[in-house]
Point group: C2
């Protein structure tokens, strides 16, 4: 008997500041400067389809982990929150490597733009890769989605926002400030993404150089013992 499956349409595409997987926050809402725009695709790009959504502060985005969809499924995964060396069940994790690679993130709704035949939702606090296919959008319903009694396994507390306190060299700070004109909040975005310490748990050599791709730029930073310095910000061509 063939394995049962279901097929769903892509209703939109999310454009985000994250042009590569490395550096993406491990959950949504951690970095409000992480902005995105959800563009509805035809035939879903009708202002009527989002009527009333403006009354909600937050919404759920159901999306496809399209960068990992070709990977084989494994029963256990090693979440970064457990140091990367402990295995837990894939259904006990939010890993993108799952049998049905559907992601689910709550984002803040900043604005809805309708016009020129387009419907675009501007959102904040995304943890989603640029160009991600969107399957569904739903309003966040506080009375149903907030479960005050819930207790939380391995990830009971939010990851440390300042795991790796981050500063800029004077040159990089000047570069970031110039970029602010085009992407307001860029400096805070870069600082927070690096501060969250996106390095794999097994990689801890001080002095190593990394790059994270934010908007149209590569933010180059150097890891210290317990801190990081952003040393350069360069224009990056799309990956």
């Amino acid at each position: 008997m063939p394995e049962p499956t279901f097929t769903f349409p892509v209703i939109g595409v999310l454009r985000s500041c994250f042009r590569a997987k490395f550096g993406i926050p491990r959950q949504p809402g951690l970095i409000l400067e992480a902005t995105g725009a959800i563009e509805l695709l035809p035939p879903y790009d009708q202002p009527n389809a989002v009527r009333g959504l403006e009354d909600f502060s937050h919404l759920w985005v159901l999306f496809v982990f399209h960068e990992t969809i070709r990977e084989a499924w494994k029963a256990t995964v090693r979440p970064p929150r457990l140091g990367g060396d402990q295995r837990i069940g894939v259904f006990a994790s939010r890993s993108p490597f799952r049998p049905s690679p559907i992601g689910m993130s709550v984002v803040r709704l900043r604005n809805i733009r309708c016009g020129h035949g387009k419907v675009v939702l501007e959102v904040d606090g995304v943890d989603i890769l640029d160009n991600t296919p969107i399957l569904d959008l739903k309003p966040y319903l506080p009375y149903a989605d907030i479960v005050p009694a819930a207790t939380g396994g391995f990830a009971a507390a939010a990851p440390a926002a300042e795991a790796l306190p981050t500063s800029f060299t004077p040159a990089a700070e000047a570069q970031a400030k110039a970029i602010e004109k085009r992407f307001p909040g860029f400096m805070e975005l870069a600082r927070k993404v690096v501060s969250a310490d996106p390095r794999p748990a097994y990689q801890r050599e001080p002095g190593r150089i990394y790059g994270v791709f934010l908007h149209d730029y590569e933010v180059v930073w150097k890891a210290g013992e317990n801190s990081a310095v952003i040393v350069d910000i360069r224009r990056a061509s799309p990956l």
Copy 2:
């Protein structure tokens, strides 16, 4: 150009006390006596795949609205919470009639049973129809999924739990008590399901008789002006 789509496997089936759509709570968590069991399907039925899930009190169930999947998509819907006569955008609603008919419910995890080649998750507070195909399970992460600042549009408050205070006739109460031996909590389940007033908003004739299917029984009740009485509970053949 063909519309882009993605296909996902069914990783499990949810058996629930709700044998028909009428009477299902309008969000999860409202009726804890509403029990379900998620049975993982091969090749996902491995104890390893849920390892560590027992440390979480609640989990997200991503499922297919399989009863409505054949319906044509409409840009607007009429949520019962708005009295059924006001239209809002489908993406501003949690309606099952959506372009990608994927449901998302948080349920309480009561127990995990592994053995005899099966993996079964016993859950409480379901709002999901019996035999629903499951696409994914994820732990509920309080730090990420609880958004204290969220404000909530048309559904800011939970629906009234006691919209239609409900009592039993002596005969129906005796029937419910007998069923308790097989399905503990049945009496509360029946009372709460009817109390939530599952009637369509446009249907308000006192004296009308309704039936809701719970476990293997049809609970027959009579609507009054501002209350209801459960008058009979009969064995029902599966629908």
